[in-house]
């Protein structure tokens, strides 16, 4: 086999390339667009920008970065979902939004009511997020709970606890002014985008593509039985995936609390649907083992710019909820269909 390819390798210069009919070429293009989700999303972003660009005040650095800031937390949670879903066996983190709410209350208590220095409080918040994610991970990976039932249960556990700890009232006026630091701007772009989102995207990319852990994660997600025979630490890999999602929730809680200067017990409520929608739209397959950081980031941009356009046109947020639900169904169907059609996992 390898010999024949070597033998024919120098030949092509003498033989003309096989002619393709336009239809075949279109088919190959279509395949490329469906297999490489980034291309589809990039096209989508260009269309959205071009369409809403006709409205005054849309295509400006200030407005678009504002829209990104509003979707920053969701982008972070979507990266968490990416890592969790890759780990396989139908894993998904339904509790991410509730963890944000709980972490937001942790920041409210530590920075606001107990007057800890802001950086210590922020670290404590992220630590709390890690702990909550680690609890999910421990139950799902080591004890063997199905991920859906663990995160469904912890979703309501944290949601209810977050409402209880400060009796549903937000903690706002007690928060120190330092909290607003992340909400400042540099050249019209929010500091939180540059100081939180960008580094985390890069770190996640490095984690998934340039570390042993990342390779293990894809391996475990693709086939965990084969991974066990290859002596990969399956449970440990899964555990860290859930803990990572908790870390993202902690970071999201810090940015959302600093953005609104208010620690709210319902801060994370609408975030889960968006995060999961973005992950699925970004081409992450729910069966595990497949998904890219680039897809998730582009999907975040697409949803943020789309939301921005709808907001500019004064579309009610209720309709945006419906649009997200439809988008989730549509992209899930697209994933299933293109996976079956083209055999990508």
């Amino acid at each position: 086999m390898s010999q024949t390819t070597q033998a024919t390798a120098p030949a092509p210069s003498t033989r003309p390339a096989p002619r393709q009919s336009p239809l075949q070429r279109l088919g190959r293009l279509g395949r490329l667009v469906l297999v490489e989700r980034s291309i589809l999303l990039a096209i989508g972003i260009v269309i959205v920008l071009a369409y809403y660009g006709q409205y005054v005040g849309y295509f400006t650095v200030g407005y678009l970065s504002e829209q990104l800031t509003l979707n920053l937390e969701i982008g972070l949670l979507a990266l968490g979902q990416l890592v969790v879903i890759i780990s396989g066996r139908g894993a998904i983190d339904l509790s991410a939004g509730a963890m944000v709410s709980m972490c937001s209350m942790v920041l409210g208590f530590t920075a606001g009511l107990w007057h800890w220095p802001f950086w210590v409080a922020a670290l404590a918040t992220i630590g709390a997020g890690w702990l909550m994610g680690a609890l999910n991970g421990y139950l799902a990976a080591y004890v063997g709970y199905p991920a859906i039932i663990v995160t469904l249960a912890t979703w309501y556990v944290w949601k209810s606890l977050a409402l209880y700890v400060h009796n549903t009232t937000p903690i706002s006026s007690e928060l120190p002014g330092q909290v607003d630091w992340l909400a400042g701007t540099v050249a019209g772009i929010r500091i939180s985008l540059l100081a939180v989102w960008l580094p985390i995207i890069v770190l996640t990319w490095v984690l998934l593509n340039r570390t042993l852990y990342g390779r293990r994660l894809y391996g475990v997600g693709t086939n965990d039985i084969a991974a066990r025979f290859a002596r990969l630490q399956v449970a440990r890999t899964r555990f860290h995936a859930f803990a990572f999602s908790g870390l993202m929730a902690g970071a999201a809680a810090v940015t959302v609390t600093s953005y609104y200067h208010s620690a709210r017990a319902d801060a994370g409520d609408p975030m889960v649907l968006r995060a999961i929608t973005i992950a699925v739209l970004g081409g992450v397959l729910i069966s595990g083992g497949a998904g890219k950081v680039s897809g998730v980031v582009l999907a975040t941009l697409l949803v943020a710019f789309l939301n921005g356009g709808l907001t500019l046109l004064g579309v009610e947020s209720q309709y945006q909820l419906a649009a997200l639900g439809l988008l989730l169904l549509g992209s899930a169907l697209l994933n299933v269909w293109s996976a079956r059609r083209f055999g990508i996992r």
Binding site: P146, L152, Y156, Q318, L324, L329, A332, V336, R340
Partner: protein, 333 residues
């Protein structure tokens, strides 16, 4: 579909004589034991607990959970899950409420609720069974879509002054002192138990949940069965909505939020395996009773209402832990 069924689990080894062994399982006995202990302990500690009025309240409050739990048991048996039942309940309830408000009759109101529920279930079922999208993704999306639909029909305000047309289903409708809605739940449970035990299509649900591919090769019409269980769940959600509207008065736009958690709690506390392939409708009824007892006990003991979901979540985790231990023990045998 997700490859969640790689792990061999006990359902596969119990292929023959499962119908008989489902009773020898001991789940029903264990649950009844826990229920009895809980009731005796609570009655001794709080004399108000075993008053007839409180028992009637518990029974009527769990009726909706138990009714939808029958469908949810079937869905979870096939290895699926339906988290959209709470929003589906809101859609059905607002439509039924508005119809009753306009002076409709009982029969048509029930038929309307059931029909709308079936339609919503068919949406879920079609996407899961024929579109092959993971059940959790599908129903999570429809959870939000149905909520949107219900808010549109509510027009963002509560429905007031509903006449007690459907009071037969409500908390005040009783036969021999037992709430009618609870009797309906018992009847449905027995029917479902009989169906799951004695009909080949019922047995197919266990086969699908144990191993979908094997069931497919054995000639089970998997997609059709999967579609059917979501439609059945939808129908039962429609029926439950008549219970919700039953007493008349007011229906709030937030009706049904968190309802899915109660239903899923009842199913898994009843010992139905969330991995699919193992479970029983009778156990779900007992699970619903246990959930109702827990909620009533929390109120009696004066626990803050905000923490109800907290305890429910912890309860689910504990119940699944018991199931996991049992499975591990059996697979080591």
């Amino acid at each position: 579909m997700t490859a969640t069924d790689v792990r061999p689990h006990p359902g596969q080894q119990r292929a023959e004589g499962t119908a008989r062994r489902s009773f020898a399982y001991g789940n029903e006995v264990t649950l009844l034991g826990i229920l009895a202990v809980a009731w005796v302990a609570l009655s001794l500690a709080y004399p108000t607990f075993h008053e007839v009025g409180n028992i009637q309240n518990v029974l009527s409050s769990i009726a909706m959970v138990a009714i939808v739990g029958v469908g949810m048991t079937m869905v979870i048996l096939t290895g699926g899950i339906d988290v959209s039942v709470g929003s589906g309940l809101a859609v059905c309830a607002v439509i039924v409420a508005k119809y009753v408000l306009s002076g409709g009759s009982v029969v048509v109101a029930v038929a309307l609720g059931v029909l709308v529920g079936a339609l919503l279930g068919a949406v879920n079922g079609a996407i899961v069974a024929f579109g092959r999208v993971a059940p959790i993704i599908t129903t999570f999306a429809t959870l939000n879509l149905f909520r949107f639909v219900s808010l549109q029909i509510f027009e963002n305000q509560q429905v007031n002054g509903i006449p007690p047309t459907l009071s037969w289903f409500g908390p005040t409708g009783r036969t021999l002192g037992v709430p009618n809605a609870f009797l309906v739940a018992v009847l449905l449970t027995v029917v479902a138990w009989w169906y799951l035990k004695s009909y080949s299509t019922g047995r197919h649900l266990f086969a699908i949940g144990s191993n979908r591919d094997t069931a497919l090769f054995a000639g089970v019409r998997v997609a059709r069965r999967e579609f059917a269980v979501y439609v059945v769940t939808g129908v039962l959600v429609g029926l439950a909505s008549t219970v919700a509207v039953g007493s008349g008065g007011v229906v709030q736009p937030n009706i049904g939020t968190g309802f899915e958690l109660q239903v899923i709690a009842a199913v898994v506390i009843g010992g139905t395996s969330i991995l699919g392939g193992r479970g029983s409708a009778l156990c779900t009824l007992l699970g619903a009773l246990l959930v109702g007892t827990l909620r009533s006990a929390l109120v009696t003991m004066g626990a803050p209402g905000l923490l109800t979901d907290f305890f429910l979540g912890v309860f689910i985790l504990a119940a699944v832990a018991v199931d996991l231990v049992r499975q591990k023990r059996r697979s080591h045998r």
